[in-house]
């Protein structure tokens, strides 16, 4: 299946070389890894390059609102049991970044590719993946993101009739809707804490009934499919009913869910769940997420939460009170400029934690916490927040650019 039986055309080779040169220039200029600019140059010279690069690989795509970078890492590690893997491990997940990542792995057997939600259907059409892992969909970047349900609809149309094996989270009604037009779906009971984007039936608009872990539409009969894989506490249950322990260095229920989907996806490539899960233990902090850093002689754990579903999962993994918490929120372009999502997050979950508030939009957070009836302190910057926090390891939770600010400040 894989291997480099057909060499790249001269045009494709030129495109790859030019892309690498542009990336090198970008790196030399101190502008990051250069993977996106390199991919852009290469795609300009050969618009079909992404498709061409992928023909030599068994490709699996990973998409979701939350957890796609981590899942890509977990799955790549699992598939390495069977052969070399090329992956956009740094999270450059649009076509240019993906092209650049694939161009770097001419010897690889597998391509494990994280894809931005908006590009999934197009990338799937280009690279003809063997498998696609779909984790969850929820509200994100309100001022410019497509409506969440519309995104599910676009996936459904774009993936209909796909030859790929779809590995899908059956506990997310929007994911189920997106995947259920595909002929081959492996349904995973991967769980989902956030429910507020799927009270309406994606099929008929009826109100979804959600008793315990189940969900169904009382009007049209659209319902949670029967699953063959499941996350059960700290174990993955495989289709034969065997329970395999999840041992991760990454914290939280959401990462166990990511591991369960990754194990199911790896099995589609013949990797035994035991082997897959053991290999996943190697994955450490992804792009600084969950890193514990030293700052002003304190231990600070850096946690990224980009949207309400992400905040909810993050609250469930932090150490309990009286562990000090620092919250940082920005509303720059990459975050979405509308902060109203703060009111979708249940901050009362932080009751009992000493709370420090920073970031460009610390005042929005201050009002939010005041209305939640919580005690908090507004600080000028991260340094002040860390210095004034009471004893104990600090949990610092930040949204996208605020997280980058924290990493920069601690030199991570």
């Amino acid at each position: 299946m894989a291997g480099n039986a057909e060499p790249l055309s001269p045009r494709a080779k030129l495109a790859v070389t030019a892309g690498k040169a542009a990336a090198a220039v970008s790196r030399a200029a101190g502008r990051g890894s250069g993977s996106v600019i390199g991919g852009r140059v290469a795609l300009k010279l050969d618009p079909d390059l992404l498709a061409r690069l992928a023909t030599h690989l068994d490709v699996v795509l990973v998409s979701a609102t939350n957890g796609k970078t981590t899942t890509t890492r977990l799955l790549a590690e699992a598939l390495r049991a069977n052969g070399e893997v090329v992956s956009n491990a740094l999270g450059a997940n649009m076509p240019a970044g993906i092209t650049s990542a694939l161009a770097g792995g001419s010897e690889a057997r597998y391509g494990v590719i994280e894809v931005d939600e908006k590009y999934l259907a197009g990338v799937a059409r280009d690279v003809k993946p063997k498998a696609i892992a779909l984790l969850n969909l929820s509200r994100d970047q309100l001022d410019r993101a497509a409506e969440t349900r519309m995104l599910a609809e676009k996936w459904r149309e774009g993936l209909a009739g796909s030859d790929a094996v779809i590995i899908a989270n059956a506990d997310d009604p929007l994911i189920t809707w997106a995947a259920s037009s595909c002929p081959t779906v492996v349904w995973v009971a991967a769980g989902q804490e956030w429910k507020d984007d799927a009270w309406s039936c994606p099929s008929c608009g009826g109100v979804l009934q959600r008793p315990a872990e189940d969900w169904f539409c009382g009007e049209c009969g659209f319902r949670r499919p029967t699953t063959t894989w499941a996350l059960s506490g700290d174990h993955v249950i495989d289709p034969y009913g065997s329970a395999w322990p999840i041992q991760l260095q990454l914290p939280g229920r959401a990462n166990k869910s990511n591991a369960a989907v990754s194990a199911a996806a790896a099995a589609a490539f013949g990797v035994d769940p035991k082997v897959a899960l053991e290999r996943m233990y190697k994955v450490q902090a992804v792009a600084g997420r969950y890193d514990v850093v030293q700052f002003h002689d304190r231990d600070v754990r850096l946690l990224l939460a980009k949207n309400p579903a992400g905040w909810l999962e993050t609250f469930s993994l932090i150490d309990g009170p009286p562990t000090p918490v620092i919250l940082s929120v920005n509303a720059r372009g990459a975050d979405g400029t509308d902060t109203s999502w703060l009111w979708d997050v249940d901050y009362t979950r932080l009751a009992g934690h000493p709370i420090r508030v920073i970031g460009d939009r610390k005042l929005d957070l201050a009002v939010r916490l005041e209305v939640a009836g919580l005690e908090f302190q507004v600080c000028q910057d991260f340094d002040e927040a860390v210095r004034t926090s009471p004893a104990g390891r600090i949990e610092a939770i930040a949204n996208y650019t605020a997280f980058q600010d924290l990493r920069r400040r601690v030199g991570n």
Partner: protein, 242 residues
């Protein structure tokens, strides 16, 4: 108020709660409780009947299809119209604002009847989507400080003669009609395009609704330190668009 507690009804959070709209409920509830007014909060999903005995009804924003579904279900239910006949207060935002008018354009591109609780008609705007911070002066008759909010809509809403514009914009689009109006209101029914949520940035609006519902002229003061700091920051931001 119908009994000793303020009955606060949140209409259809399953359909109309896309932009942190729960915030308006939380702020109103909090500010009533800070005045020692007992509050009964009633969240009504779209497969449940709208109670007609509420004091304040809050309706949020939503995307195009949920907006049509909400309008269909509210028309069929009829409870909100009966509540307004009973003198209830309604405060609605964005998609909810359009629904309580006479008509809006639905996700299928067709005119959809609203509830006719407020004399406004909404159409789809031809220009760019209105996104960003807004600063506006509220109708002096209401005696409120300037309105700050975040708008994010394609709709254009025309205010009829039986309603008054809620505010005049200094920065931002508001109703999108080009005449500087933002929102609309009559004696008991209010509509606005402002997210933020609007009560978080303008807690005096929550106070106004509470006063109207309780039929009192004033409420004891509460500590508005953080609200005031946020207002000052957002008013400055709206005045100096990036």
């Amino acid at each position: 108020m119908s009994d000793s507690s303020l009955r606060l009804v949140w209409v259809y959070p399953d359909l109309l709660s896309t932009y942190g709209d729960q915030g308006n409920v939380l702020v109103t509830e909090r500010r009533a409780r800070q005045r020692r007014v007992p509050v009964t909060r009633i969240d009504v999903r779209s497969d449940q009947p709208i109670p007609t005995s509420g004091d304040i009804y809050l309706i949020g924003g939503g995307e195009d299809r949920p907006q049509r579904l909400a309008a269909e279900r509210l028309r069929r239910d009829g409870g909100l119209n009966r509540a307004v006949d009973n003198g209830a207060i309604v405060f609605s935002v964005c998609a909810g604002y359009q629904i309580i008018g006479h008509e809006f354009v639905n996700d299928l591109g067709r005119p959809e009847p609203g509830l006719g609780l407020l004399d406004v008609v909404s159409v789809r705007g031809e220009g760019e989507r209105c996104v960003g911070d807004v600063l506006a002066d509220i109708d002096p008759a209401l005696g409120l400080p300037p309105l700050t909010g975040f708008e994010n809509h394609q709709g254009v809403t025309h205010v009829g003669k039986n309603a008054r514009p809620l505010a005049r914009t200094r920065f931002g689009n508001g109703n999108g009609t080009g005449d500087g109006t933002e929102g609309a209101y009559n004696e008991t029914v209010f509509g606005t395009y402002m997210h933020g949520p609007v009560m978080a940035r303008n807690p005096q609006i929550a106070d106004l609704l509470i006063k109207l519902a309780m039929d009192v002229r004033a409420l004891p003061p509460v500590d508005d330190e953080w609200y005031e700091a946020l207002r000052a920051e957002r008013i400055a931001a709206a005045s100096q668009p990036a």
